[in-house]
Symmetry: C2
Subunit: 126 residues, 2 copies
Amino acid sequence: MKNHDKIYNTAVEATLEVIGGKWKPVILFHLTFGKKRNNELKSLIPVITQKMLTQQLRELEEEGVILRISYNQVPPKVEYELTDYGWSLKEILHLMCRWGDSHIERKYGGRATVLSNPQLKDVYDI
Amino acid sequence: MKNHDKIYNTAVEATLEVIGGKWKPVILFHLTFGKKRNNELKSLIPVITQKMLTQQLRELEEEGVILRISYNQVPPKVEYELTDYGWSLKEILHLMCRWGDSHIERKYGGRATVLSNPQLKDVYDI
DNA sequence: CAGCATCCGTGCAGATACTG
DNA sequence: CAGTATCTGCACGGATGCTG
């Protein structure tokens, strides 16, 4: 063993440092369907507050998984998109979505609704 | 639309309800290598407190992804293992582990260590 | 060994108001 | 439109001590 700057017990923990935030997987998941503006994300995630959204976006940006594109214009226009690195999370995120789908079906039968992931039906056969 | 007991914006959220706890993915990950006793989990996750460990285990049990096996003996012996349903999370968990590995490499180069996931090296070629 | 009970602090996250 | 700034509360999680 050498001097370490950082010690993990499991590599899973390293992943959680990046996508472990309360809304991060959800935000990233939506971005796997293309770049989104601030308001679009708010519409897709109605229950999140603006503060939380901005906060989580900033952290994701710092980790290098998303890119913030600010067009200098009035009114302001900002778009968020996955970086190449961020795209490497797609498999995990879509797997989480598909698992969630089957979990909902198992737990609630038909007594639950998922508002905004119709796209996945086109991507996979579910 | 009909009356719903539950509404999700994304199925990802349903997944997060199950594995979204601070330590849940880590605990579940360890269990993908076989049943573990309370103390074994504590050794594998040194920084977790007993309280948190118990709490997270209970919640995982309630969700039906792990099973608590209590042998009625003195001293007590309790084992935790994945249910069949819990096993369906394996792909996500191992994907998270592998992504974490590459993330650590990318972010820290050699200046970080992962203590306890040698098993994965045998399972996959990494 | 496995775990519960209790106390306690902090930090996460909500609500509201304001800005370039 | 896309944010900041500030105040606030409560629940999450840590530390400690006790139990079957």
